[in-house]
Structure formats: structure tokens, C-alpha cells
Symmetry: C2
Subunit: 158 residues, 2 copies
DNA sequence: GATCGTATGATATAACATATCAACCCCATC
DNA sequence: GATGGGGTTGATATGTTATATCATACGATC
């Protein structure tokens, strides 16, 4: 769950560890990680890229876990509200959280070539958003920090 | 065009100055600021909030400048590509640029109560996005920095 | 066993965005 | 002044993302 960058890694452990963490956290907080919710988390964890709600819905549909948009959106709302997944605004899509352990101010790096998305840990208080907001007297409730570009693997090719 | 924050100001000059700048810049760069494009810019300048493409389209339709989605999207593409407007990813909506003069790395402060959106100037090189990207060897082509929350006027009320 | 809260099922629709092809206009070139 | 290319517009259709609404199921609580 700490896959920091665009590097190769044992991906099976990503899924297993992600689900295990979620199960534990839900138990601690009395959250219901129902079948559909857990399955959506697994689907998101299965790839290091953002997936659209309808792409997720196709999986659910194929597995008999639901066939209509609200099924996917409800699961995604649960996952994002509770920090198990994030919405990537730039893509109108979703990705599993890769820093489940600590509260965070994520920065997402989105490769336009290979579509991989990496969640990096940022220091909220040091960012430009926070600085600007403080100066304006603005109370930040949610900050979106997303960069689109080329990952180390794709940059040379392009 | 330097309305920095959520403060009161002479709004007519916002529109006039914004259009004037755009006209001049287009002349300098040989860009065609056609009727529809200029009108969309004026519509965006008319309010300090983000407007959806279909909301803009309604205006155009009422004025006989077009009635189908591509009309609005084409004008918006021209305006955003040339820096006269910005897309707010968080809202799937658009806003006129308020720093036409200088190249910039804008931060948007979005008030969820009054819907006002302020474009603030940030220092790209100092932000957390840039720091994180550098560490990961990621080449940033576009950075999205948007904060949602409460503006100084709305924060006390809430 | 009635009530309540949470989760699902099901249907419809809203909201946002793009693909495609034809027509047109301006202007430069032949 | 005809030809052709580039950019713009018109028109139609479609694709994609997201939510509203009402009904049903089910375990927990009283
Ligand atoms: Zn996260
Ligand atoms: Zn890549
Ligand atoms: Zn701007
Ligand atoms: Zn406000």
C-alpha cells in the first residue's frame, strides 16, 4: 500500500493488502463493507489507473452484483466518503487509495500515455493552495491537486 | 482584471477590461475572436462563478448565436486553449481568466455556498504538485489546483 | 411485532461531451 | 477570376457521466 511511484512491484499484494486494510478499518469504525462495496474496491485495486463508474459497473454486471448506474455510484460514494478510494476530478473517474494508513492530502500524477495514476503524499500546509487560501481568508474543505503529464517510463518515448 | 479575492468591486469594468484585453491579444496573435467566441467570453465575465457549457449554450440560443452543444464547446475550446478562460475540473464548468496579463499557474478557490470562484496566482515551482512530480520523475504538462470550501463572506454564516 | 435506519432494486432522466460530415467563408495562389 | 486550403460554422446523432425518485428488503431496537 505504499507503492510510491511508477515502479514495478508485486501487484497481488496491492490488492490483498488493500482489501485487508479496508476490512479492518471498517470493523473498527462500524462501517459495512458489503459485497458490492468490497468488490468495487477490489476492482479499483486491480489496476493502478482511474476507472469510470460505468467501467466498474460492467464488472459488477458481469458478476451479477448489479446492473444499473446507482449500484456503482453508491459503492463509490461509500468508498470515497470513507477514504478507501479517491475521485480523480480531471478524469471523472476513481482510484483506490494507496495510503490508507495515514490521513493525507494526496497529489495525483496522471500519465496521459499509459494511464497510470500514482497517489503521492503531500504536505497540505506547505502547498500553494493552502497559502493562497489563507491569504484570501478562504476555508478549504477539499483540495484537488492533480497533475497530468508523462510518467518516467513514458516521458523518454514521447 | 486583478480582482484578487472575494471583495466587492466595480464589476462593469471586469467585463469591459476583460473583453478589451482579449480583443487586443487576439489582434496581436492573429486569433479570430469571432462573435460567438467573444459573446461566450462576455457571458463568462458577467459572473464570478463557473458556468456549465449548457448554461452558456442557453444564452447563445436566446441570442440566436447557435443552439447545439458543439457551438458552446467550440467557443469554450478556443477560449481555454488560448488562455482567456479556464476549465474548473471540480465543477465540469468554465470561468473567465482573471489574470490575462501574465502567464500563470492558477489556483481556484470555489465557495460551495455562494458559488463564487476566485482565480489566484500561484507559484508553480513552489507547490506541492511540482515537488512531488520532481521526486517521481514525472513531467507535468498540466496542473489542477482547486480548493472547495467557504469564502470569507460565507464562512461566518455557516 | 412495530419502528427505524441502512442498504438495494429498479426506472427514468439530467447533465456533460464528442464524432462526423456538409456547407461556407476568407484569402492566397495560380 | 478560378482553384484550393485552412479555419469556422451548421446540423445531426451519439456517447459518457451522474442523479432523482420511489419501491423493497432486512437486521437492529424498542
Ligand atoms: Zn489516498
Ligand atoms: Zn506512463
Ligand atoms: Zn487565468
Ligand atoms: Zn461564498
Amino acid at each position: 500500500m505504499t507503492s510510491q511511484a511508477f515502479e514495478a512491484h508485486d501487484h497481488r499484494s496491492c490488492i490483498a493488502a488493500g482489501v485487508a486494510s479496508a476490512v479492518q478499518i471498517c470493523a473498527e469504525r462500524n462501517l459495512q463493507l458489503t459485497a458490492a462495496r468490497q468488490r468495487v474496491l477490489e476492482i479499483l485495486l486491480s489496476e493502478h489507473r482511474a476507472m469510470g463508474a460505468y467501467e466498474i459497473l460492467e464488472h459488477l454486471r458481469a458478476e451479477g452484483l448489479g446492473s444499473q448506474p446507482p449500484v456503482a455510484y453508491r459503492a463509490l460514494e461509500f468508498l470515497t466518503k470513507n477514504g478507501f478510494a479517491h475521485r480523480i476530478e480531471r478524469l471523472n473517474a476513481f482510484i483506490a487509495c494507496s495510503h490508507l494508513d495515514n490521513a493525507h492530502a494526496p497529489v495525483f500524477l496522471i500519465c496521459r500515455a499509459c494511464e497510470r495514476v500514482v497517489e503521492a503524499e503531500a504536505n497540505a500546509a506547505q502547498g500553494e493552495i493552502d497559502r493562497v487560501a489563507r491569504r484570501a481568508g478562504f476555508v478549504v474543505e477539499r483540495a484537488v491537486r492533480e497533475a497530468e503529464g508523462l510518467c518516467p517510463a513514458c516521458a523518454p518515448t514521447a
